[in-house]
């Protein structure tokens, strides 16, 4: 047995190994399979990514088909797509046939449609049917995530018979969803579930129906990946069965795919929160043109909305010309509103994603954000008030222009901040509810979106407060 590297950096190891593999491909391709036997397919995928594109098919051809297919599953999506598109449909079919059904469907989903159809045509009949049925479901639903390689046993079986069947299946080939055994009745309907551990622990002679759990958490194939993730997390599952309307077991979503789905969903949410469309590729792999498309749309919409600030300032330009001192605090006051809104929005969109907050809780949230916003506004208001007084007293700037007592400028800043931060917290927390109610993703309530909303309203609040506090100096 080999020693365990203390610090295992798989990419660095891959970079070291790639030249060796290239040499072997020229000199002795037959040795590659044995040399790499002990390596994890994920690490071999890293090696493949380090090879020149033209060498990858040879490398995979030098390995047993099942092994090559496992590497394909871990390979970077773009590399895999290029690779499969470069192969003849027959070659590709030989490889793809050995992949687990869910990854096979994912791989086909990503390549050119016509080429994918040719590959599917070249698959053996049973695999073709299985693949076609998986391709029917969108990739972000339970149907798109599930594998059809699961273990089910008749619920009338004895524990021994079931165990023998499981061993036989395990020996027949690799199956993904093998940690859980599903019990089905004569009609194929799902009636129970037990872990492999529970099957091993079950008393000999018992029937599956007696030892299986009868409350089976399941999802429909149309359930979206967030729902699959919720069920998995809530019940600490390693696999979620997918059943049709007749309760027949169609497939199983395994926990590794659930984690991937959670990560992808989170990436999308963070990108939307940042005020852009979700990228569908890693940042470094996206072309600059592709990224511009995802970013320019929202930036332009936000800017068009922000133009209302110009209109508002044009509307109040008489007041501004009489009291130019008001200009000085516009960015300060507006940004505080945007920041408090950004806090509230991130809190609520995340709480919604985790189902901690439901649509019907909107008024509870509003009742929390109202006092929170007023208090935060008062804290910032005091800071703003002190700033004006200190600068005035230290003679750093004279806010008392045009006959206005400078202290009223401080008072104006104080009350504006209370109003704007309160509005920011409230608007930021309510926007995700409004979006969800209208059928949009609440995560679209980005920090920039809220900031823009608050900027425009904030200016109106600012000048309204100014008219109340300083109105008689503008007349």
């Amino acid at each position: 047995m080999r020693p365990h590297p203390e610090h295992h950096d798989s990419r660095a190891v891959a970079a070291l190994l790639a030249p060796d593999i290239l040499d072997s491909l020229e000199a002795d391709p037959g040795s590659i399979a044995a040399d790499t036997e002990d390596m994890h397919p994920a690490d071999l995928a890293d090696v493949a990514e380090q090879l020149p594109t033209s060498a990858v098919p040879q490398f995979l051809a030098a390995l047993p088909a099942a092994r090559a297919a496992a590497i394909l599953e871990y390979l970077d999506e773009d590399v895999r797509t290029t690779l499969l598109e470069a192969m003849s449909p027959e070659q590709a079919a030989l490889l793809i046939e050995q992949m687990t059904p869910d990854d096979r469907a994912d791989a086909l989903d990503e390549i050119d449609e016509e080429h994918a159809e040719d590959i599917v045509e070249a698959l053996p009949a049973a695999t073709r049917r299985e693949t076609e049925s998986l391709l029917l479901f969108p990739s972000d639903t339970a149907g798109g995530l599930m594998t059809t390689q699961f273990v089910s046993v008749p619920d009338s079986d004895t524990v021994e018979a079931a165990l023998a069947q499981v061993r036989e299946m395990a020996r027949a080939g690799r199956r993904e969803a093998m940690n859980t055994v599903y019990a089905v009745d004569a009609s194929g309907a799902l009636t129970g579930v037990l872990s492999l551990r529970e099957l091993l622990a079950a008393p000999e002679g018992a029937r599956i129906a007696d030892v299986a759990w009868t409350e089976v958490r399941h999802v429909h194939p149309t359930a979206d990946r967030e729902e699959v993730a919720r069920v998995t997390t809530e019940y600490d599952l390693v696999a979620v069965p997918v059943v049709d309307d007749g309760n027949r077991l169609l497939g199983v979503v395994t926990v590794d795919d659930v984690i991937d789905a959670i990560q992808e969903e989170q990436t999308e949410d963070v990108q939307k929160l940042g005020g852009m469309e979700a990228l569908d590729e890693p940042y470094m792999q996206m072309s600059i043109i592709g990224m511009l498309k995802k970013r320019a749309g929202w930036l332009s919409i936000l800017m068009l909305s922000e133009m209302f600030t110009t209109s508002a300032l044009q509307y109040f330009d008489g007041e501004l010309q009489k009291l130019p001192v008001l200009t000085l605090f516009i960015p300060l006051v507006m940004s505080s509103g945007g920041n408090s809104g950004s806090q509230a929005t991130s809190l609520i969109t995340r709480a919604m994603a985790l189902k901690e907050v439901q649509l019907r809780d909107w008024w509870r949230v509003a009742l929390r954000e109202l006092p929170t916003g007023i208090t935060l506004g008062a804290i910032l208001g005091v800071i703003g008030f002190i700033r004006v007084v200190v600068w005035q007293q230290l003679h750093l700037y004279d806010y008392g222009q045009n006959g206005v007592p400078y202290i009223l400028v401080a008072v104006n800043t104080f009350f504006s901040l209370i109003g704007i931060v309160m509005f920011g917290s409230l608007a930021g927390s309510m926007l995700p509810f409004v979006l969800r109610r209208l059928g949009f993703d609440p995560a679209s309530a980005s920090a920039p979106f809220v900031a823009t909303l608050v900027d425009v309203t904030g200016l109106i609040i600012y000048f309204t407060v100014a008219l109340a506090v300083l109105g008689k100096y503008m007349g």
Copy 2:
């Protein structure tokens, strides 16, 4: 067997069941165990949360201790803490003893320290030692996440002997990490791993050392939860072994805890991106005072930084008084910079969290953001230019005051937007690198933080461009 509810809303079911349980507690507590036998502990935890606090201990007492402990594992943290603190240490120890070791340590971590020590004292000696060793590790490290209930077999065993041992362990009681079997040598060092499925599929008569995988992905107990998540995701594991410096197997982190860790990490990241400290509790359970503490700090810091905008405006007040038209575009131009910075920051912090981008990639990112920022700025610049021209031509506003040709105001807007959006994209993308380099969490590079940074610099860019384009009208 019971039918499967089509739409299972566990909380609604719990609310319906709670009154029945209350009645049974009064009339016939002995019936509760049998009545709830088929229910998942996660659902029973929901029921417990619906009961009056005083009835929860009775409810748990009516169930077998192992069952009550499983419910404790799924119970809301606050409810569990209140419950355990209300019990005598001996009562609590009886329950807590039956919990899985990692959840037991978590539960003890959350309750009052003195009370927790009393409970640990009341545990049987072996359980006490196990618990104390787990409590040594911070809860967000591999050591804090791991369970000590795993299955290991000597690597010299035959497959049959190992399988017999696994069956015996499975029958002896519930073990968490049972989907994977670890092989250890005579010194207790980890030498191999195989899944339960692989053990079942192994040829009879083979020795464990011959069939186990020898490259075992593992982590050290001090590894942080992000590292555990990365290893789990990269190799599609259902459990990650935790070993000490001597390669001895200390415990196993199971995938359900990895998912929880991923979700918590993500919640923290989103909250930090929103410009606040991470809450350690769900939004609705946090007190308003607690929330103010988490939000007011950053808001105040951001506002203090944003005060530089006031200083900048005071510095340029001569220019502003000569050309008040410049005021109109300040919010528009500044917010566009903040928005582009927010996009760049969310992209990069997320790519860093997923390890798609490393510290050393900073210049690659900069080389992408520079042309992206210039192009985005040009797009927004054109929109801004058109706005000025259209408003002027439609006689909605006269930008040509004080003898300035209005078209120069449009040109000024155009070039300012290019400069500020370019700066925003660059600053937003570089800030996470700077924070990581300085040893901070890159996720602290919040949208508001970037917006503030860009606001201050943006004003300076704005007035610099204005001096270049419109300088001669200010003289």
